[in-house]
Symmetry: none
Subunit: 249 residues, 2 copies
DNA sequence: TTTAAAATTGCGTTATTTTGCATTATTTTA
DNA sequence: TAAAATAATGCAAAATAACGCAATTTTAAA
């Protein structure tokens, strides 16, 4: 058995059982404990696991690297955004706002899609800069550093001049009465402009955003063409939205 | 048996069994282990498999984490940029171009500095978005995805309208005769504009950039106010630059 | 077709990696 | 605090790999 195989075996077992025990592995693989320890040390060095007394446990990342954007519930978000991939077509002009759901979406855009994407979000732009066939345009302006998006006059001006086929709009909060709402005034203004510049507006978010509201209005439901959540479109909690004329994907 | 056939055989076996062992292959194909090793090395070079001690395993594409920017020789670069920190003062308006040396610089900007920074580089902006007291303005435009910077008319227009106290300009190549030069035409144009918009121009780079040149001119030495390398300012290889009137830090 | 250059292959030699064991240190447990 | 379990270290044997070289085959050019 090759060492590389062993490492794979160890990692698989670790994933299945959340931990591995040195003596068990030695027995299972018919090797000395020394060898297992050396393996665990190597994997630890590579930050693939964390060696502890008696074995190893799963690695938990704890770096505070700016560039290391932590997406909570990434798997659920993947489920959501995959539904929206069908809305993408070659030749489209697309506007993307920020937010972690949109970031997951950006990751999953097929590498053969040829389109033009405007964005004002640094992480989204970073992600899309890896895409081989996207024409990427960053909407410059003053940075709202916390959200890592641009805001202000310059942004508005660029948006006023473009016409996109579709806009993927991140959502902080959505409710039947208030529609889309935002916590920050400036971002709400910019999102308004994004909607104005797009033929079609799609918003993707987890169902826990449903029926919540924030201080600043972005638009009401009638201005949204499509919403996407992890729920089945027929789900009861979405019924009111469907009745309001929003297409639920 | 042709080499190409052998390679196909190896790849097929690898696909079937998830691994191949050098000695087994040598036996099966009736060839020396040396030849098999050479085959495996070639296939490894082509990224068709991953050679390991004793054989080879399937190639797993390491998910290129966009957000994980690898800075080569980071320690050396830290040494360089620390010298330039003394050029920073509260209230300055600063332009920063891209490049890994500038990125290291951005990381080390003291957290109590109050200044306004314009940049056209995504990684630099990501880094500076963590800074509590910097007013950050991103210069938008079409993305040059490889360098993760914006280029084109929009960038030029923004630059034409601002006046900065100091510009930190990354350098691809520098020589006595040609001055600063760039590999890409568009970036060279933008850098020209950055220089125009700044009272003072500082360039930081490793000494291995000295006396090299690229196709597109940015400026000649007379337009640079200060250069910073890891070398002692009195170093002989910098003498010509000092004579040309550049301040060497 | 002939000839020179380039690529391929195996062998001997040397270098590197892997592994288990003995020994010594460290951590855990009772 | 002592005993037991686990780890680290140095070492040597075995396996594997790399290197230089020469013989052979293939390819390309004349």
């Amino acid at each position: 058995m090759l060492k590389a195989e062993r490492h794979k075996f160890i990692m698989t077992k670790l994933l299945e059982e959340q931990k591995v025990v040195t003596t068990d592995l030695a027995l299972a693989l018919d090797l000395s404990e020394d060898t297992i320890r050396r393996d665990l040390n190597e994997l630890d060095d590579k930050k693939l696991l964390e060696k502890v007394y008696g074995g190893a446990i799963q690695f938990i990342e704890k770096s505070v690297d700016v560039f290391n954007i932590n997406i909570s519930a990434e798997e659920e978000k993947k489920k959501i955004v995959k539904k929206a991939l069908s809305l993408l077509h070659d030749g489209q002009v697309i506007i993307m706002s920020g937010g972690s759901t949109n970031l997951v979406f950006a990751k999953l855009i097929p590498s053969d899609l040829k389109a033009t994407i405007y964005t004002y979000s640094l992480p989204i732009a970073m992600q899309l800069s890896q895409h081989p066939n996207i024409d990427l345009i960053f909407i410059g302006g003053k940075m709202q550093k916390k959200a890592m998006v641009t805001i202000g006059m310059d942004v508005m001006q660029v948006l006023s001049k473009i016409k996109a086929d579709i806009c993927f709009l991140g959502a902080s909060s959505i409710s039947i009465k208030q529609g889309l709402t935002e916590i920050g005034y400036e971002v709400s203004i910019v999102k308004k402009a994004m909607i104005e510049s797009s033929d079609r507006v799609v918003s993707m978010f987890s169902s826990n955003k449903l029926n919540t509201k924030m201080p600043h209005s972005v638009c009401d439901l009638s201005q949204l063409d499509t919403i996407v959540t992890e729920l089945d479109p027929e789900d009861l909690s979405l019924e009111e939205y469907r009745k309001a004329g929003v297409f639920v994907l």
